[in-house]
């Protein structure tokens, strides 16, 4: 519909879907740059791979569903989904795992639910959860930061690992990979060790894991920029981080030898990426102001619960999907009081 009708812009440029998506991608740049610095080029290849697969899937689905291809293909939403998916996955996961996740995200989680704006579940997290459950081995092989592995795979090496499952000559895949800090603590605790012993391992840095803590800071920086640009709203990130933090404080104070420190929780795993980039996906989040707070807090709390007591070292993806399912209900019960409502 051409808008010859009112409600149109007197030249203050409002956001458009594609400008929102573009800015989200810009905001990811610091995180991705640090990722490359600490863990090599794998993440770049994974992002490109996921993006290509996602765009092809998107195009095919739009054709099949007889939707206008150009506006939707260029809205940037598929690219954001793909990049977030890639950032959530191990950077050297085999190409077919990434591809399956991307196809699932776009075809099933997005388009079979009606496409942009209609999908109840975060497509990136749905794709991630599928491959995490289906291919646990591939999905738990994480790289070590370059100061520990003493190597930083370049573009070619990364491509070889991802597409051919082995690096060139000198590099050894085994030397490159190790447990993530969260996974390490989980397995150490499983072996009846104390947190204080577990975090003595060389993979730990000041705030979280070596390297990983910097990624978290990179995402945090991008997230703050998004807040500043008013692309995302404060409620979800703040309440999610608060939910996670408060849970962590309570249990840490109850027994610091069994429970990790709150700061460690904030700067490990997908916390920052999740808080600013994943949980804030508007389509699948709650939309009332109070609802967003409940939604975010729920993700934070569930993430903690899964990290502390479930089988998975990180729980963000599942926490997001669970809260996605709750979002319509949350919205229903958190309608704001309108002007004049309940007044006599």
């Amino acid at each position: 519909m051409t808008s010859s009708m009112p409600g149109f812009a007197p030249d203050s440029e409002p956001h458009s879907v594609s400008s929102i998506m573009r800015q989200v991608l810009y905001a990811l740049v610091p995180g991705i740059a640090l990722y490359v610095w600490f863990f090599g080029f794998g993440i770049v290849i994974n992002c490109l791979l996921a993006t290509s697969v996602a765009l092809v899937s998107e195009g095919i689905m739009l054709r099949l569903r007889k939707r206008p291809v150009t506006p939707f293909l260029t809205d940037g939403s598929a690219v954001v989904t793909a990049v977030l998916l890639a950032l959530a996955m191990p950077p050297y996961a085999p190409w077919w795992v990434t591809s399956i996740a991307a196809i699932f995200a776009i075809v099933i989680a997005k388009h079979l639910y009606g496409g942009l704006g209609y999908n109840p579940f975060n497509p990136a997290m749905a794709g991630y959860a599928l491959v995490l459950i289906s291919f646990p081995a591939e999905m738990t092989t994480w790289p070590l930061p370059h100061m520990l592995s003493e190597m930083r795979p370049g573009f070619i090496d990364s491509a070889m690992i991802i597409f051919a499952d082995q690096p060139t000559g000198a590099l050894k895949l085994d030397a490159l990979t190790g447990a993530t800090p969260l996974a390490h603590v989980k397995s150490e605790l499983g072996n009846m060790r104390m947190v204080s012993e577990a975090v003595g391992a060389p993979i730990f840095g000041m705030l979280g894991g070596k390297g990983w803590e910097w990624l978290s800071l990179g995402y945090l920086l991008g997230g703050v920029w998004l807040l500043y640009k008013k692309i995302i709203k404060w409620q979800i990130p703040v309440s999610m981080l608060a939910g996670l933090f408060i849970m962590a404080v309570v249990f840490y104070l109850s027994d610091p030898e069994i429970y990790l420190s709150p700061v460690f929780h904030l700067f490990s795993g997908a916390t920052m990426l999740g808080a600013f980039f994943i949980a804030t996906d508007p389509v699948t989040a709650a939309t009332t102001p109070l609802g967003r707070i409940i939604f975010g807090a729920g993700i934070g709390i569930l993430t903690y619960v899964i990290r502390a007591w479930a089988a998975y070292p990180d729980g963000l993806a599942f926490a997001v999907l669970l809260m996605n399912a709750a979002a319509p209900t949350i919205d229903h019960y958190t309608q704001p009081r309108i002007l004049g409502e309940g007044r006599q």
Binding site: M1, P6, P282, V283, T287, P336, L339, G340
Partner: protein
């Protein structure tokens, strides 16, 4: 004068573009070749012609009389000859024609005899109210609700605060600004007159804080204990419920009228018009109109009602190049004009010539919540949209569809370019039609009370359309008898409804927050 102000939820800081048109003093617009005076320039029932084709009329002469209580008469805006009474294009969201009295001016602009009461400062409420009604005065801010009904409400109830609304919040529009600067004394005298008539305890004249000259002009002529207030220039600061909240911190309960909490509000131009009828015996025959946008010399004009908008565009300098869009009203709530013969009516505040207002293709709602943050009523526009689109009108009403004031803030910020207000209008008119068909509004009656006027308007509208089928040559259809019966029934229902409404609350209803109607068929490319 400093006072406590309250801040309503949401709203938008919009680029005002006011300087474009408010620098120059207003000038009278030329008398056009033809004047088209619609019988319905107000909310309520259309008026009934009292002149015949061929009759000579004088400026200010009654040419159509009020039909019932919520209705006002129409007067000739200049002297001349009535050359037709028929269907002509008017500004309407559905682009329908409406019945107009067409006058061919004689160019002499001769007034009918104007009667001024001997001691106009001592008139009783009844006398003032009758004068207001007989002068055909309606809410000149854009709502178009008959002013005498509101004044009468004030007379019959205890009025705590009378607010004279000069908070001209929509971009581009400066007619109230100019009017205040040029006729501050009339505004203040009118305010004082209305205040005395409704026996208001307080009277506040409010402008936006960027209308400095207007404020200064008012300050100079301030009389009695009338207060002045500056409110922040946040759209829609001049919305009835928004302004009441900003000034008093009081919320008009949902489905109720301001008088329910002891408040009466009139527009500054209305106040000036009231003054002019009481002191000069002048009925409403002209008004200030802002002609702005890409015309060569944007400005304000004093325009005779019935003047075709095309004439005004020509007088302000038609822009070169391909024809531009002409919008009656502002960029947020205006109606696009398809035919330049469309006349200026009592509620026309602005003619905006532009085509800088196009939006990109409509995308699906991504639930970003931007619309929620800006809604001045604190509604959930995206949810309303969802249910309006799904034609789930019950849920839409549970979400307070009818409290939407059509301000357009939500659509303005929507990154998906969704014409949200059109969907809301569509839903509202569907529901009104449903209620109409059912003949009762027993469900959620509370929510409807304040809409009586709106429904009355809708009914009148429908009746009028059918009448056109009956009278208009082009619209003659076969089932005339049936239609006549229908019209009769509709009018009866309206009367009955109004009667019950008055019984219930002891006063007739108003809904001055009714925005202009919009196209009723939203489409989607999703």
């Amino acid at each position: 004068m400093s006072q406590t102000l309250w801040q309503f939820h949401g709203g938008l800081k919009l680029p005002g573009h006011k300087a474009l048109s408010n620098r120059e003093p207003s000038i009278p617009a030329a008398i056009p070749e033809r004047l088209f005076l619609p019988l319905q320039q107000h909310i309520g029932i259309a008026s009934r012609p009292t002149v015949k084709i061929g009759e000579k009329v004088l400026k200010g002469q009654l040419i159509a009389s009020a039909e019932g209580y919520v209705s006002v008469p129409v007067h000739a805006s200049t002297s001349g000859t009535v050359i037709d009474i028929g269907d002509y294009p008017v500004a309407h969201p559905s682009d329908v024609d409406a019945r107009c009295i067409v006058i061919e001016p004689d160019g002499d602009d001769v007034w009918v005899e104007r009667r001024v009461p001997a001691q106009c400062d001592l008139l009783g409420p009844k006398a003032v109210n009758d004068m207001i009604r007989d002068a055909g005065i309606v809410g000149l801010g854009g709502a178009g609700f008959p002013s005498h009904v509101k004044v009468n409400e004030g007379v019959e109830n205890v009025v705590d605060t009378l607010i004279i609304n000069g908070a001209e919040c929509e971009p581009y529009i400066t007619c109230d600004d100019r009017l205040i600067r040029e006729r501050a004394d009339e505004v203040i005298a009118g305010a004082s007159l209305i205040s005395r008539t409704v026996q208001a305890k307080r009277c506040i004249v409010a402008v936006e804080d960027d209308m400095r000259d207007a404020y200064a002009a008012l300050e100079k002529v301030l009389i009695g204990d009338i207060e002045l207030a500056k409110v922040p220039a946040i759209y829609p600061a001049g919305g009835e419920k928004q302004l009441i909240f900003t000034l008093t911190g009081k919320e008009v309960p949902c489905g109720r009228l301001p008088i329910h909490i002891g408040i009466v509000m009139h527009n500054v131009a209305t106040a000036a018009a009231v003054y002019r009828v009481v002191h000069y015996g002048e009925p409403l025959v002209s008004r200030y109109v802002t002609v702005t946008g890409s015309v060569v010399s944007p400005r304000n004009m004093q325009v005779l009602l019935g003047t075709p908008v095309g004439d005004l565009v020509d007088q302000c300098g038609r822009p070169d190049g391909p024809p531009k869009k002409v919008i009656m009203g502002g960029p947020m709530m205006g109606i696009p004009v398809q035919d330049e013969r469309v006349p200026v009516i009592k509620t026309t505040n602005c003619i905006l010539v532009t085509d800088a207002l196009e939006r990109g293709p409509q995308m699906p709602c991504i639930r970003c919540g931007d619309c929620v943050d800006v809604c001045p009523v604190n509604l959930l526009p995206q949810q309303l949209y969802w249910y309006a689109r799904a034609q789930d009108f019950d849920t839409a009403q549970d979400l307070h569809l009818f409290d939407c004031i059509d301000c357009g803030c939500c659509a303005q910020v929507c990154p998906s370019n969704i014409p949200l207000v059109q969907y809301f209008f569509f839903a509202k008119s569907e529901i009104a039609a449903e209620e109409e068909a059912r003949g009762s509004a027993d469900r959620a009656r509370g929510a409807y009370e304040s809409r009586t006027a709106r429904l009355a308007k809708d009914e009148a509208e429908r009746a009028r359309h059918l009448q056109q089928g009956d009278i208009g040559e082009s619209r003659a259809k076969n089932d005339r008898g049936q239609k006549k019966a229908y019209i009769q029934a509709a009018i009866e229902r309206t009367k009955a409804k109004r009667a019950t409404a008055r019984e219930r609350e002891g006063s007739p209803k108003d809904n001055a927050t009714v925005g202009p109607d919009r196209k009723s068929t939203p489409e989607s490319n999703e």
